[in-house]
């Protein structure tokens, strides 16, 4: 079999692999192998942006809303060069407020949203712009990488009320009830 000559990244837990043997096997298979302990993260996520919680000063400057004490929005600390966010015109200093109909209060909200989104999907992102602090809607075409599900127990956990419409549509189609869990746990 003709394997492509390229770098391969193999994920393994440090105590469970023999690095030399693995590298040898990779070399034999035609890969220039590189072994990384622990989980790897995709270089470019489906959104292609790094985000964090806005500081108190940023929340004030951007006039970000709150819900039960949680500030709405995720501050974009950087975008991947050539990634989906950059292509859509998002840049560092923007604040993501809503993905489709889902308000964003944490990075978990973004990850939950991306987990149930399809690669290549077009997502309307409501954003407050760096500098002008004005709201704008941009469309981001998601990349191919899926967010890894960190907790299998929550594969059906969703970012917010926007996904409820999907649940209702599915229920209507199949003649089912929708079971909604309202969790008091923080994000």
């Amino acid at each position: 079999m003709d394997f492509p000559k390229k770098q391969a990244t193999v994920t393994a837990e440090a105590e469970k692999y023999d690095e030399k043997a693995l590298l040898k096997a990779l070399e034999k298979a035609g890969f220039g192998g590189k072994v990384v302990a622990g989980e790897t993260k995709p270089e470019k996520g489906p959104l292609g942006a790094d985000t964090r919680v806005p500081t108190a000063e940023e929340a004030k400057t951007y006039q970000l809303g709150k819900l039960v004490g949680k500030v709405q929005g995720q501050y974009v600390s950087g975008v991947d060069k050539g990634g989906p966010a950059e292509k859509a015109g998002l840049k560092a200093g923007d604040v993501l407020l809503v993905l489709d109909a889902n308000k964003v209060f944490s990075r978990d909200d973004i990850e939950d949203f991306l987990r149930v989104s399809q690669p290549g999907a077009q997502v309307k992102v409501l954003v407050k712009r760096a500098g002008t602090y004005k709201e704008e809607t941009v469309t981001v075409t998601l990349g191919a990488n899926k967010v890894e599900d960190k907790d299998k127990h929550f594969t059906w956990q969703y970012a917010g009320l926007g996904q409820l419409d999907d649940a209702l549509a599915a229920a209507k189609k199949d003649g089912k009830l929708v079971l909604v869990g309202l969790s008091g746990a923080d994000t």
């Binding site: 819900l67 949680k70 209060f105 917010g160 409820l164 209702l168 079971l179 909604v180 869990g181 008091g184």
Partner: protein
């Protein structure tokens, strides 16, 4: 897209989003399990003691 049992489509809405839901339907408990029909009408509620119990109960209901 949705994980669904034979009887239910299911979804968990966490804090703070859960409070948006409660703003529209004041009678629902948090933590709480709410049964909606396809028209979004609340047809029943269950109030577990904790978020952990909520997940366990939902798992039971959708087995």
């Amino acid at each position: 897209m949705l994980k669904a049992s034979e009887k239910f489509a299911r979804i968990i809405i966490r804090r703070p989003h859960a409070y948006e839901f409660k703003n529209k339907d004041k009678s629902v408990p948090i933590p709480g399990i709410v049964f909606l029909d396809a028209q979004r009408k609340v047809v029943g509620t269950v109030q577990p003691e904790s978020a952990k119990q909520l997940v366990e109960k939902m798992n039971e209901l959708t087995k």
